[in-house]
């Protein structure tokens, strides 16, 4: 049942990305291009998504549990590290280069299998290399992330 729910939620998430414009790199670049023909519409994607998700996170922070009653561990919220900033900075360069981030790339994979296929393959390699770098110094894992759920 929970697996089916996850599949339907993935479908909903993907539909949201398609509707929002996040799956069109031209729109994404237009949003990031403050010095050009700036279209701020995509700020509303993050804005409304955060507002809708806020109560769910507040509920889980308060109760420590999901609705089925299982314990939920949320990622560390306050542990600022060099890796966080460096990683986010590198991520942003890649995002700005073509206007694709991981979620939208998976959504449009079937629509542009060759171009997006290359991006997704490289994305997976990049995630793997990052995992190797972190694993090379296990002591840093807690410093970098604070929890075993390495990626939020």
């Amino acid at each position: 049942m929970k697996i089916l729910a996850a599949a339907l939620l993935g479908l909903l998430f993907g539909a949201g990305l398609l509707l929002s414009g996040m799956t069109d790199p031209a729109r994404v670049i237009g949003f990031l291009d403050v010095a050009g023909a700036w279209n701020p519409a995509l700020a509303l994607v993050m804005g409304s998504a955060v507002v809708v998700a806020l109560p769910a996170f507040a509920f889980v922070r308060r109760t420590g549990k999901s609705i089925p009653g299982e314990p939920v561990r949320l990622p560390n919220r306050f542990n600022l590290t060099p890796a966080l900033v460096l990683g986010a900075a590198i991520f942003g360069v890649g995002w700005g280069l073509v206007g694709l981030c991981p979620g939208p790339s998976l959504v449009v994979l079937s629509l542009s299998p060759i171009h997006v296929g290359v991006f997704v393959a490289a994305l997976i390699v990049g995630l793997w290399i990052g995992g190797q770098v972190i694993a090379a110094d296990p002591n840093d894992v807690t410093i970098l992330h604070g929890t075993e759920d390495i990626i939020v």
């Binding site: 539909a15 995002w95 694709l100 991981p102 793997w128 990626i151």
Partner: protein, 156 residues
């Protein structure tokens, strides 16, 4: 209203806001039902790890299905995708993947879930990647030498 609504549709404001509602609703659902964070790079890392979990693949297959269904109903890929060279796409994918791993999340994990969780880490990450993404667009779109340098490097 009769003037405002078409103008908002034309610029994509309504679609963006409504799309965000669906994204936030899905993230809330995954947290409340499965107790997990809808960070796509994290789900992807888990799905290809030696110990993948069924919910990770289910959610990711849902994402893939959304695009496939849209394709069946006539949606085509943005022309902006075909305009990119494969080396640039590969470089961008590597940077996005490596950065998301090192930074502990991507647009969905930090930008949606983390901010909704009132996480300082995610706020710092989101401001950082928005800034470097904006700078990257500025350099590649507005500095005349940048395109030439990419061509020289064999990336364009």
């Amino acid at each position: 209203m009769s003037v405002v609504v078409p103008a908002m549709l034309e610029n994509g404001f309504l679609q963006s806001a409504l799309g965000g509602v669906l994204i936030g609703g899905a993230a809330a659902g995954l947290l409340l039902i499965n107790g997990r964070i809808a960070g796509i790079s994290g789900l992807l890392t888990g799905a290809i790890s030696p110990k993948p979990q069924a919910f990770q693949w289910a959610f990711l297959l849902g994402l893939l299905a959304a695009g496939a269904i849209a394709g069946l109903s006539g949606r085509t890929a943005s022309v902006a995708l075909a305009a990119q060279t494969l080396p640039i796409l590969a470089a961008a994918g590597l940077l996005v993947g490596f950065g998301a791993c090192l930074g502990g999340g991507c647009t969905s994990g930090h930008g949606v879930c983390g901010l909704a969780n009132l996480s300082l880490r995610s706020l710092v990450a989101t401001v950082t990647f928005m800034t470097t993404a904006g700078l990257t667009v500025f350099v590649t779109r507005h500095l005349p030498g940048a395109r030439g340098a990419l061509k020289l490097a064999g990336l364009e």
